[in-house]
């Protein structure tokens, strides 16, 4: 089957669903979207109605119900499933089922074996260590037992003290969590037990799995990523550079992403930043080659102020912030790189068609996550109705959103309150900052909640952080 004779089921919602549909259109592929009752007003539903052919939109009970998603795929005659991010994106069982059921479908993502191998954070750690890739000290599997958890935490406190760290910290994470949810830090060994129980109970409620991971909390670091792209079979693996995602909410969720990861030309670092970017890219590629990585993926790193990198995890999926890497990348000198389209094309079995030498980078990109939330109140989500939303179009700006700009939109409470992604490009750090501020200042975002209070958003926070990008 040629790669244009496919129909892709978009097993996701919101902004990523919109972008997958747009990428399918670009590639000349048919698509089918699903939505739940709460999401009836979302942009991806509207787009499917406007652009979809027959059988291109189905209401489902849940985005989490694999049976339902696959029965829709059969009914709509889809041949491939794109999981987006979240939901089934890193679920190897789902990927395996999709590709092994009676009516086989293509899972647009790495093969299930690769997802299983790298989706297990512990296995990733083990693999990384075998390749001399540095990793964060901590538990090497999910912990379900309180006594054991305390033992691990205590040893991490002792380890940090022996390293000369004055105020050691331990992170307690829901092992089934992700996206920064269900993570707390502990500064006092005596408080560990209460935090552990809180995270465990939260994990049981939200992820139906009580397992927690316990790690050293490394402070004063930057969060970097390496974007990997590979064709089926894992023979051709390239990278699309690095990103810096250090500007986060108090809940450790990303808010601003910048590509490339550091700017040694304009910012002074305490270490050789250019070499560090090369090192983490080389390490990431080595691990990707080792597992025969075969689609898009992100290698997540933390880099301390003194320039020590630690591999945190591999996200075996497309990420929210893929667009900021695309904004600065050129393939054979051409702009307009679309990593989601690349993901689909390669997922369907097309050859890569270019080499690492063909990929070059130009300028700098900033991605802003525009969210209805109150940064002053621990980033509490704001719930209500958006009445006005708009921005002037600019050739250096790309907006991705599921929120309509021509009618009011009530934010669903079931999902993260992300409203839009604004990606700004500039030729260097000063231009991209200045354009970033111009964009944020020109953005119109108004609304009210049930009690009539005006919308709260993170725009002022993003504005303030724009001058802090790429710094420690």
């Amino acid at each position: 089957m040629s790669t244009t004779a496919h129909k892709v089921l978009v097993a996701n919602r919101g902004e990523i669903a919109v972008r997958i549909v747009q990428a399918c259109r670009k590639l000349g592929l048919e698509f089918v979207c699903v939505y739940t009752a709460e999401d009836a007003a979302s942009g991806h539903v509207r787009l499917a109605r406007e652009l979809g052919g027959p059988k291109s939109l189905y209401r489902v009970a849940s985005y989490h119900d694999a049976n339902e998603i696959l029965s829709v795929a059969d009914e709509a005659e889809a041949t491939a499933v794109h999981p987006g991010y979240g939901f089934f994106a890193e679920d190897y069982r789902f990927a395996r089922r999709v590709s092994q059921r009676d009516r086989k479908l293509i899972f647009i993502g790495p093969s299930w074996r690769v997802i299983r191998e790298l989706g297990d954070k512990i296995n990733t750690k083990r693999l990384a260590r075998s390749l001399d890739v540095p990793t964060v000290p901590g538990s090497d599997r999910p912990i379900y037992d309180e006594m054991e958890a305390e033992r691990v935490a205590r040893s991490l406190f002792e380890f940090q003290i022996s390293q000369g760290i004055e105020s050691p910290l331990v992170l307690v994470k829901a092992s089934a969590g992700g996206g920064g949810m269900g993570i707390e830090e502990v500064h006092d060994p005596d408080l560990f037990r209460s935090v552990y129980r809180r995270v465990r109970n939260y994990a049981a409620r939200q992820f139906k799995d009580e397992g927690v991971l316990i790690e050293q909390r490394i402070r004063d670091f930057n969060h970097l990523e390496v974007q990997i792209v590979a064709e089926r079979g894992g023979a051709n693996i390239v990278h699309f550079g690095t990103r810096n995602c250090s500007i986060q909410s108090t809940g450790l969720q990303k808010r601003v992403e910048v590509a490339p990861g550091f700017d040694p030309g304009a910012v002074a670092y305490d270490f050789d930043a250019a070499k560090l970017l090369e090192d983490i890219t080389r390490h990431s590629l080595a691990l990707a080659r080792r597992v025969k990585y075969d689609n898009v993926g992100t290698w997540e790193w933390i880099v301390t102020r003194d320039g020590r990198p630690y591999l945190m995890e591999v996200n075996t999926r497309i990420q929210v912030e893929n667009g900021v890497s695309a904004a600065i990348a050129r393939i054979k000198g051409k702009q307009g790189v679309d990593l989601i389209a690349e993901q689909i094309r390669l997922g369907l079995g097309a050859p890569l068609g270019y080499t690492q030498e063909d990929i070059t980078f130009e300028g700098m990109g900033i991605e802003y996550r525009i969210i209805a939330e109150d940064p002053a109140n621990r980033f509490a989500p704001w719930v209500g109705r958006i009445e006005k939303f708009g921005w002037p179009s600019r050739e250096w700006l790309k907006m991705h959103t599921q929120v309509p700009t021509d009618e009011p939109y009530t934010i669903p409470t079931e999902f993260d309150p992300n409203l839009a992604l604004g990606i700004v490009w500039g030729k260097d750090i000063s231009e991209v900052r200045q354009r970033g501020l111009e964009f944020l200042d020109s953005l119109v975002l108004e609304g009210r909640n049930a009690t009539g209070d005006p919308l709260k958003s993170n725009i002022a926070f993003l504005r303030e952080k724009t001058n802090r990008i790429l710094l420690f």
């Binding site: 009752a37 189905y58 489902v60 029965s71 829709v72 989500p381 719930v383 409470t413 049930a450």
Partner: protein
């Protein structure tokens, strides 16, 4: 003061509830033998372990999901035109009418009598673990709440915040939310029976038990 007789009369004048049966998820729908006018029954047995009348089956990925009547009633409409087709989640497949049961009548009356603590925002609500255990073991009436007591966890977009009860002291007489269910702002979460209302509530329970005749 609660006028139970008046409320009972009001309910008696329109004693039916109309239920729209919607596809709980998408899939292929098939119907049984039911036709408009047919009688259906709710779950039975000492523990309600026997399901009610089979209304329809929705099949997806070779998993058949039977849809049973949750209440005793009568079929008003069967969407026969959907038989054998793929329906989307939320599509109405059948409509039933049922005569209000004693529990439902009591619930309607109690909602007027009890002090209702309502959801401040659209969110999912949970009791805090200490209360949740007691509710599960001994039932909600084992819990006495007082003003300012930490009682709920409010969860929106996976972010959880504690929520304190405010209102008169009393026992939790009714719980109106389910696990993982989204509650709209203003919907009641619990009904509290303060000590001075106990008499009136017991009277209401008694009146409904004796005066409400369930239709066979």
């Amino acid at each position: 003061m609660l006028d139970v007789s008046k409320l009972l009369d009001e309910i008696q004048s329109a004693p039916y509830a109309e239920l729209s049966i919607a596809a709980p998820h998408s899939g292929l729908v098939s119907f049984g033998e039911l036709a408009p006018g047919g009688k259906v029954f709710g779950p039975s047995g000492p523990w309600k372990e026997k399901p009610g009348t089979l209304l329809a089956i929705i099949e997806r990925e070779r998993n058949k999901r039977p849809i049973y009547a949750a209440e005793k009633g009568e079929v008003m409409l069967v969407h026969e035109e959907l038989a054998g087709t793929f329906v989307q989640a939320g599509t109405e497949i059948m409509r039933l009418r049922h005569f209000l049961s004693k529990e439902e009548v009591l619930s309607i009356i109690l909602k007027k009598a009890l002090h209702l603590f309502t959801a401040p925002e659209r969110a999912k609500y949970y009791f805090i673990p200490a209360v949740d255990i007691k509710v599960k073991v001994s039932g909600p009436k084992a819990i006495t709440v007082h003003d300012g007591m930490e009682l709920f966890i409010m969860s929106r977009m996976k972010r959880e915040t504690p929520l304190n009860y405010s209102g008169p002291e009393g026992v939790i007489y009714a719980v109106y939310f389910n696990h993982n269910q989204n509650m709209d702002a203003g919907q009641p979460l619990i009904g509290i029976c303060p000590p001075d209302l106990v008499g009136a509530v017991e009277d209401a329970v008694m009146r409904v038990q004796t005066d409400w005749k369930e239709e066979e």
